[in-house]
Amino acid sequence: MSNARSAILERLRKAPKKPIPELPAWQPYQSTTEPAFERFRRLITAVRGEVIETTRANLAATVRQVLADKQCQNLLYAPKTDIGKALDDAWDAEPGPQLVAYDRPIEEMKALMINNIDAGITGTMGAIADTGSLIVWPTVEEPRLMSLVPPLHIAVLEVSKMFDSFTEAVAKLGWNKNPPGNTLLISGPSKTADIEGILCFGVHGPKQLVILAVTD
């Protein structure tokens, strides 16, 4: 309705002008001298995120262990990523729970994903220490719903990719230069306190979040 558009903009433009304030000098708050990864781990485990340290070489084995511990029958994965290739190699040597590729549009995958997938694994762009948040940028290989629909999300985090704050991450990742269609901060498994203010986990997003912290 260009009528509404011009009316709204006109009313805004004819209003009394107020000065445009300068943004005051500011440092994002860092409460401790705790190393970034420790801060991140402390915050995310406080809201039931699980952090498991591992190495590149041991990644597939750690995934296998997590799937066994959580009794997962299958795992949604992206075969064309490094993570996917590592899993394919490991599963070739020794089979494990079924690896399901997210290789078709969601319309064809929906019923399967909503009802029958136990876990999904994605990479991350890094993590933010001050808020305990993973940075997840869905890609063509790792689409948006991969970290959301399966009840268990396994996220691979390279410990070297820590940022203190969102502000730092935006600057260093060039986040504000043409960002992908969906970018996310994920800070734990899904939760709510809508019933009498009592905290409950696993509402609509994943019930469990396991972070594989790759230290090398």
Partner: protein, 475 residues
């Protein structure tokens, strides 16, 4: 739940008598107050962050028309559709047209207070589209046929046994349980299928970054992501004041909002949407629409003082800390927004003649202004609106002057005459001391006072007489 009367005072009194409501509110609000305090142990850091948050919002408001144009350009370049609506009616029609064109019969919603302004669900139902709430609190009140009583925790007025009974009644095959985890699991089960089958997803917008063309949505449950990425179409609705300059401004604003609202460093999900599904992508909505709503905001914008209320980031810290809200809950406020921000927005959006009685719902204790993460002087804005109610400043507010009372004008004229004159003050107070204590407790004003208090006693001597006797100089 008894039908609340339309008069604010009656509604407040009824709510006061609801023991369960008061107990729930007191417990939860006290918890939120403590959680927020625990997030801000450093007073200087808090004040610096509030100053930054207020400056970010003030910059965005000062540049709003240009930022909205920039936002629109960037969104369109990325494949969004952008619509503008001046009124609630226009907004509802635009959305209905989008849905009809896409043959959508059902829409699944993330929480959106601005959709409450539009009475959106009701409008859609009347026009043959099912609107399903997916936020747990909103889902609960939708099942109960009610409206939200708090902007962040909509079902806070309900107990778990009530919710258990509600689920048992309304969800096929659901046995009675009071266990919150089991109730949550039941909602997850039901809504999961609805996310998958809905024709369209709907959301509000917490912040829209003009520089990158990004819609930012914060949530704990994940329903925001489900409803904006599972269905093949997403419609987002936003008040025009939610537009901010830059994506990086989101950092301090989210820090303020989450720590002030629920005492968390951040919500579980920060969902940033910068485009629909690309041709080589496998998921995400193929069509994304943003509807920009005015509904009285441009009018508020005209007044430099009242414009400060448009900084609001809908965190609810003000109502969490409000001693009046804690005792009466959100429904008593009658219109979309409860608590202090409701006292500022509702009379301006609905008109003072309709929603102005809520302006006296405040003892002006100032806690709201103290905790507002973007430094809105809420208590002062309430006083300003009280003035607009009786002595409007040239069309500043809808319904200005509609609460003018000749009797009150006379009272304050008399008060001023006595108090601005030293002689009349001495004479008037001399009489009050003589006869004041004979006033019966049942007369208007004294009657309200003495319902729970003893009558105040006028002293027999003035302090000025005592002082003279004790040798205190008067100049």
């Amino acid at each position: 739940m008894p039908e609340l009367s339309h008069d604010f005072e009656h509604a407040a009194v009824e709510a006061l008598g609801n023991k369960q409501l008061r107990t729930n509110l007191r417990r939860v609000m006290t918890g939120l107050i403590n959680k927020r305090a625990a997030q801000f142990p450093d007073f200087d850091e808090l004040q610096a962050l509030r100053t930054r948050g207020a400056a970010i919002k003030d910059r965005a408001l000062a540049k709003l028309p240009d930022l909205l144009v920039q936002l629109e350009q960037n969104l369109i370049a990325k494949g969004f559709h952008v619509h503008w609506a001046q009124s609630v009616e226009e907004g509802n029609k635009i959305i209905l047209d989008i849905l009809k064109k896409a043959n959508a019969r059902s829409i699944i919603k993330g929480k959106s207070m601005v959709s409450e302004e539009m009475h959106f669900n009701h409008f859609l139902e009347e026009n043959g589209v099912k609107a399903l709430e997916s936020d747990l609190g909103e889902y609960i009140i939708q099942l109960a046929g009610e409206t939200p009583s708090h902007i962040v925790m909509p079902a806070i007025h309900k107990n778990k046994d009530q919710i258990g009974k509600l689920f048992q009644e309304k969800i096929d095959g659901q046995p009675y349980t009071e266990d919150p985890d089991e109730l949550t699991a039941a909602a997850r089960r039901v809504l999961r299928q609805l996310f998958a089958s809905a024709d369209c997803g709907f959301s509000g917008v917490n912040f829209a970054a003009a520089d990158t063309g990004t819609l930012v949505l914060i949530s704990n449950e994940g329903n925001g992501r489900m409803s904006t990425h599972l269905p093949s179409m997403h419609i987002a609705l936003m008040g025009i004041e939610k537009c901010i300059e830059r994506l990086e401004d989101v950092g301090p604003l989210i820090s303020l909002a989450c720590r002030s609202a629920t005492g968390q460093p951040i919500t579980t999900y920060v969902n940033m949407i910068s485009g629909p599904r690309k041709s080589n992508e496998k998921d995400g909505p193929k069509e994304v629409h943003l509807v920009l709503l005015d509904n009285g905001r441009t009018k508020i914008y005209q007044d430099p003082e009242l414009r400060e209320g448009l900084r609001c980031i809908r965190c609810a810290a003000c109502m969490n800390h409000c001693p009046v809200y804690t005792r009466i809950g959100g429904h008593a406020y009658q219109y979309t927004y409860p608590g202090p921000i409701g006292e500022v927005l509702n009379p301006q959006m609905q008109g003072i003649e309709k929603a102005g009685d809520v302006l006296h719902a405040s003892s002006l204790c100032g806690r709201c202004s103290e905790v507002c993460p973007v430094k809105i002087p809420l208590a002062d804005l309430i006083v300003r609106l009280r003035r607009e109610a009786i002595r409007p400043a040239a069309d500043a507010v809808k319904g200005g002057g509609s609460r003018k009372s000749n009797m009150e004008d006379v009272i304050w004229f008399g008060w001023k005459t006595m108090y601005a004159s030293p002689l009349l003050y001495r004479w008037g107070t001399w009489w009050l001391r003589k006869i004041g204590n004979f006033m019966p407790a049942g007369i208007p004003l004294l009657k309200q006072w003495t319902s729970v208090r003893s009558k105040p006693q006028f002293a027999s001597r003035s302090i000025y007489d005592l002082a003279r006797e004790r040798g205190i100089r008067d100049e």
